[in-house]
Amino acid sequence: MPDVNIIRTPPASMYRDKEGMGIWPHRGKVAAVGIGHAPTARRWDERPETSVGGLSIFALRAAMADAGVTPDQVDGLVVVPDTTTGAYWPAGKQVPADFLAMYQQTDDPLDGVAKLSPEWIIKNMPELVNLKVAINAPTCMSNAVVVAAQAIGDGLAHTCLVLKGWHNYVGRYYQGGANAEPTVSGPGKFSAPWGGPACYGTAQQFQRYMYKYGKTHDEVAPFVVNSRRNGLLNPDGYWAQHRPEQLTADDYINARWVAKPANLFDNDIPIMAAGAYLFTTSERAKDMRQKPVYFMTTASDRTRARGLALTLEEVEEATASTGRKLYEGSGVKASDLDFENMYDGFGLFHIFHIEGLGYAGIKRGEALDLFKGDISIEGPNPVSPSGGNIGNGRTRFWLHSDSIQQLQGRAGARQIKKPVEIAVSGGPTPTGGNFVIWSKSPD
């Protein structure tokens, strides 16, 4: 293994989580160039090459090839160690022998199957001979993206791979385990006995939203229909690859409830997937195969619920603050955003995200009015042109991939028809997320 400095937890100083920090010092000096997506699947078929480790290697190599970068040019790696969709490797089940034969193992027998460490990637990608730094960025691609951008800006690396992989197994997620026990310990004891599913928090916020602004769940339909349409225009997405089915407003309105007012299509579908990016300095990006897309700023939210349940008002303050941080750090105004790819898994909180940004001139309570107009890629105010998790399956990276591809002008059938210069993407949830303003130009 090369002598790599492994940073287990990104320091707080890597995040722009406060207002008043001014223009991001690395504005326009860091660029996204390459993108790699592995093929998707609904669940792991237990072949080694389709494990989350195998898919991740595929995506990382694809991102380098896409950027026209050779592995020896890469000196940084940011890995999201968490890969579960909510599916857990069954206790006592052996890892398939074919997997063990194909890949080098770390001390953790589930590395590459149910999680990913930088060590696993380093051991199994010996071509990364000049790697100097590897950073664990927990939970989410958006975290990895802002950490990688900051690392490059700070000079920790000049050419950095960024990775998020996902595993999904047979069975329904979050079933079994602690949820099947008669007792509950730890912090969950104040919520688990009441049995709210994962989308419940967003559902109760949206219930309050409807009460506060006089809206209905049916009014969300155009957004979900548009997201599936956009997703089906993404050849890398799950629905396009496996179930190319358009969704109608009636399909959405009549879908079964999970936690009313959140239904099946307000939830995303868990899948096997891996996505990787190649980021570098703006200087080095000039010589690469794809056009650079520049980071104008990053921003992060660290809101913590005061009570057990995060309220709509707490969410609204958080998203407004995220908007202010993004605009302050980038020098960009809300009216400069040509499109938005804010996170959507759960679909309902996409509404809170874009109202916080003031996207397309909307104010609080107006997102569903925006959805009544043309939010397609052909229209003046494209909403979620990636299709997001709702249109592509749960990865939390389609949003960034699409922002980069749209600004590079290579989003294919999803390419927004009007000229685009500035984009925003990030997530996951409205609180606790990490966000980016992207630009076609470094200035």
Binding site: N179, T183, F190, W194, G196, K260, P261, G307
Partner: protein, 135 residues
């Protein structure tokens, strides 16, 4: 409702013991005169540990919002579906909220802003938990 039974630990034993006596208490920081819930080892606002104690509250509140659960991953609750799941704000501090099934209330027909009061429900291991009813 056949809820999972909370198992108290050193951090929250005061809360759960009070529940067993049918009293609702919330962790209070005397250093900054602030309630917090769920309990923490130190005040989230000022970091004080010594100032933390259990403060009785009235057991009255309002419904902030709610959902109706149709597909829970919690096995014990699956036979009860669909069921109400409300967020209740305490009168003493609306920033403090708790979950409730609102026993006795009609499914999917709850008044946001409606008044509620606490009651206590016994779970499988004998531990009581706070619940709320419309008043």
């Amino acid at each position: 409702m056949p809820k999972q039974s909370p198992v108290p630990d050193d951090l929250d034993r005061g809360f759960w013991e009070a529940c067993n006596e049918e009293r609702l208490v919330i962790q209070h920081c005397s250093a900054c005169d602030r309630l917090q819930h769920p309990p923490l080892a130190a005040c989230f606002e000022c970091g004080s540990r010594a100032g933390l104690s259990w403060k009785p509250v009235s057991g009255r509140g309002t419904i902030y919002s709610y959902g109706v659960v149709h597909d829970t991953p919690v096995a014990a609750m699956q036979p009860e579906q669909p069921y109400n799941l409300a967020v209740v704000q305490l009168d003493e501090d609306p920033g403090i909220n708790m979950y409730s099934h609102l026993p006795g209330a009609p499914i999917d027909n709850l008044p946001i802003g409606g008044r509620v009061e606490v009651l206590f429900e016994t779970t499988g291991n004998g531990q009581k938990v706070p619940e709320w009813r419309l008043v």
